[in-house]
Symmetry: C2
Subunit: 335 residues, 2 copies
């Protein structure tokens, strides 16, 4: 166990390299502040398909295909695809990955999926089990509303603390060698549940898990609080981010001004009527695979801690009176 | 990529050791032929809880706790818990793992979950990222019927090719060192879909994936067909197993008589009215963690290939006319 540090962290001996990244999003995301950075903006929310679930699978398939294509490799060169999404039985990833015919690991961590996929993918590479893996996470606004909330046709009013599920997929191709930002360390989150029950405020449900994994990351690896230029959480939204900063401050974390949230970057929360901000597995994944990957490549960001966060409830557990367990995984990326 | 062989296989340099295993099941499984081998048989299908979903989580929690306890370790010694189940958003594993407060990877591969958990867990250990991991997979008959089929109260007649979801959890504690059967190799399955649409015949949907991963395993690692004493598939059931043997024979596989199915071992298909046999993530997991682990420890089986299989559809995708994608993961265990 030479690469394990502290309670929950690993440092990679030969840091895996992100040699390619792709992000494809839907129309609403294409009207947001990151529009110029996405590889493709579909003006069709159905991505040419008949249903929202098929649309998400097609979005996933296109994004993974493009990510591999941009690297100059072909799907056959990839040893493993690791992918997650929000739909029941991971339908978005599974039907999307089907055509690649590559070894496949389906992951469920709700909106923390990209953190899981990048952490596990990096371990497979640094462990000597693969040269190339693809990590992907997707979500679709309509599919998520149908799965977790109300029929869209009802036009149900949204709570101010509710977030807007991103229609998007972000994929990265992680390699044992090559040029690009490197994944240097990862801290794997535990399930943290402080008893929050409000599904219209998932930010609050995920904050304790985010605070926990960030604290463990710095403690396990004995890093100064200002080590990273940016700490980017998954999708806490504006209220969640505020709470996280409070929690971190109370715990003595001295670099809270460096913490930002992917859910606040992908939409203009003033103009786009998304309430608390963006969410969904595809939110942090597509923001990382467009905005952050560019900043890392350009040297604008030298080191970042990417912390996708997930709310792990289901409709059934909530209807049974259960609370919302949260989880977050931290992935360190250096340019 | 020193440990990768062929298309989809890895061989472990320092084969991880299964130092502990536990299997807990429900009343019907406790009336089957493996009754004497389970650690605990609950006569309460609700495991003391109010709902089937809570029952599955409690079953998972108890099994993981017992597995760790039997090793003489405590949960705090475990670096990662990897777990999967069939419920929407992996509720069985998530609410079950919550109280352990350990780094957690949620996996979705339907009934192939135990294969994923053991493969990834072994990679984390042999890769130097952990000393101890727990791999777990669970299912609950009532929760699965509710999620995928009809309300139990309807008493809907079952098709002859339908299987009976096992109420059970199997967990193993995999270690970098110690005494016990060793995980020597793993072949990770791709999604295989030959167009089967009948959700009452999931065995047939999973057979092509099982045949594919078994063929790759022998080819990648250049093994003689009689290398393993037993090849135990996840839960193809009696019709699926027959089909698999046909497919393997047609492909020139010369050791078909060594292939058996966990779904046929856990129930007495003549007396227990389970039609095609047992299924569910907890089927192969609990059979492995009771019946096979004992035979491996006793030397009755020297080498086995454990091949949990999964049908990756959801109710929504089937209602939309989609086919059932299958997957299977092969894990080599030597006594």
């Amino acid at each position: 166990m030479t690469k394990h540090f502290g309670d929950a962290s690993v440092k990679f001996e030969n840091p895996p390299v992100i040699i390619s990244a792709a992000a494809i999003v839907g129309p609403k995301e294409g009207e947001g502040p990151l529009a110029a950075l996405f590889d493709k903006i579909s003006d069709d929310i159905l991505f040419g398909k008949d249903t929202w679930e098929q649309a998400e699978s097609e979005l996933m398939r296109q994004t993974v295909e493009l990510c591999v294509q941009k690297s100059g490799l072909s799907a056959g060169d990839v040893q493993y695809i690791l992918a997650g999404d929000l739909l029941n039985q991971n339908s978005g990833s599974i039907y999307g990955a089907r055509s690649f015919e590559r070894p496949f690991f389906g992951l469920f961590g709700a909106c923390s999926a990209m953190g899981m996929a990048m952490s596990l993918g990096s371990m497979l590479i640094d462990g000597g089990f693969a040269n190339y893996v693809v990590a992907s996470a997707s979500s679709h606004f309509c599919g998520a509303e149908k799965t977790f909330r109300f029929p869209l046709e009802l036009g149900t009013q949204r709570a101010p603390t509710a977030s807007w599920t991103v229609t998007g997929d972000g994929a990265v191709l992680i390699s044992a060698t090559g040029r690009g930002p490197k994944i240097t360390a990862a801290t794997t989150g535990a399930i943290v549940d402080l008893g929050q029950k409000d599904v219209n405020n998932m930010g609050a449900a995920m904050v304790p898990a985010a605070a926990d994994v960030i604290a463990k990351h710095f403690r396990d690896l004995n890093l100064p609080h200002d080590y990273y230029d940016v700490i980017a959480t998954g999708d806490l939204g504006m209220y969640g981010l505020k709470l996280l900063k409070q929690m971190l401050s109370q715990d003595g974390f001295t670099a809270v001004e460096r913490v930002n949230d992917c859910g606040l970057l992908i939409f203009d929360t003033q103009k786009q009527d998304v309430h608390a901000g963006g969410s969904g597995c595809g939110c942090s994944a597509s923001v990382f695979a467009s905005y952050f990957i560019k900043k890392l490549r350009d040297g604008e960001i030298k080191r970042m801690l990417f912390v996708p966060t997930g709310a792990l409830h289901s409709v059934v557990t909530i209807q049974q009176g259960e609370t919302i367990p949260g989880i977050a995984h931290a992935v360190a990326v250096e340019g």
